[in-house]
């Protein structure tokens, strides 16, 4: 048995807190561990911040659509925007031997999630699909 939820937030950093609360509420209801929830909140923040800063170039009043599915084995979070498409080829992972001020966001997302997929095939924007397998599947 699973659960499903959707939320659309505005492209403002202040909206991220609302998205985190939404995610926390559903993740907690589904029985995810506190550490998993914290990781997911962080990943959600990083992904939404990237959308606001890079897809929408800091402009408010554009939609960020969130869709969450949780079942016995995994959590899937889909984040969709209609802004500038994400260019994965332009992304440079941070050199972890030299502290840098940029590049940790995508690195954190990739490190904490089990699957990360950017889809830019649509007419507009990017659909980011994030999957986290549950540490303790329900019997």
């Amino acid at each position: 048995m699973g659960s499903e939820a959707a939320l659309v937030i505005d492209s403002r950093l202040a909206e991220i807190a609302r998205a985190r609360q939404w995610l926390r509420r559903h993740a907690r209801a589904a029985g995810l561990a506190e550490r998993e929830i914290r990781d997911l909140e962080l990943v959600l923040s990083e992904a939404c911040t990237n959308v606001i800063q890079h897809a929408y170039h800091g402009q408010p009043h554009y939609p960020i659509a969130l869709h969450l599915t949780i079942d016995e084995t995994k959590l899937t979070l889909v984040i969709r925007d209609v802004g500038t498409k994400f260019d994965l080829s332009a992304y440079t992972p941070p050199d972890l031997d030299q502290p840098q001020e940029r590049g940790y966001g995508v690195f954190i997302i990739r490190s904490l999630m089990d699957e990360v997929h950017y889809d830019t095939a649509g007419e507009q924007g990017t659909t980011l699909t994030l999957v986290k397998y549950r540490s303790r599947p329900t019997a």
Binding site: L13, A14, I16, A17, R35, R38, E41, L42, S45, E46, T49, P94, L96, D97, P99, Q100, E101, R102, Y104, G105, F107, I108, S111, L112
Partner: protein
């Protein structure tokens, strides 16, 4: 979020209360800029009451580290919560920032450098 500052000569102890994230990092940055502008060289960042930390918060800490290390200054972290320590380990920034269990130990290390 809120920042408290305790100044001890050339050392500033900055207490961060709440989230140090993209939404709140400007306040921390303004506090740091003011202290750097006044010539403060040594910093203890007390994270005991830190809520969340994200890449924007990490970037602010790295920015401070780079600026003080241009001169003879230094920055270290005190009372790091375990989720934050995990993020520092993940990004290998735990090799950059020296951490201490208490503010007193961190301040003593900076006040009596090698």
């Amino acid at each position: 979020m809120d920042c408290t500052v305790e100044q001890r000569g050339d050392l500033a102890i900055i207490g961060v209360r709440g989230d140090l994230q993209a939404t709140t990092v400007d306040h921390f940055q303004a506090t740091v800029d003011r202290l750097l502008g006044a010539g403060t060289r040594y910093y203890v960042i007390d994270l005991a009451e830190l809520g969340g930390l994200d890449s924007a918060g990490l970037a602010a800490l790295i920015r401070l580290y780079k600026r003080v290390r241009l001169g003879t200054g230094d920055v270290c972290l005190a009372q790091v919560p375990s989720p934050v320590q995990r993020l520092l380990d993940l990004t290998r920034l735990s090799r950059v920032f020296e951490t201490f269990p208490t503010v007193a130990e961190a301040a003593a290390a900076l006040e009596a450098p090698d």
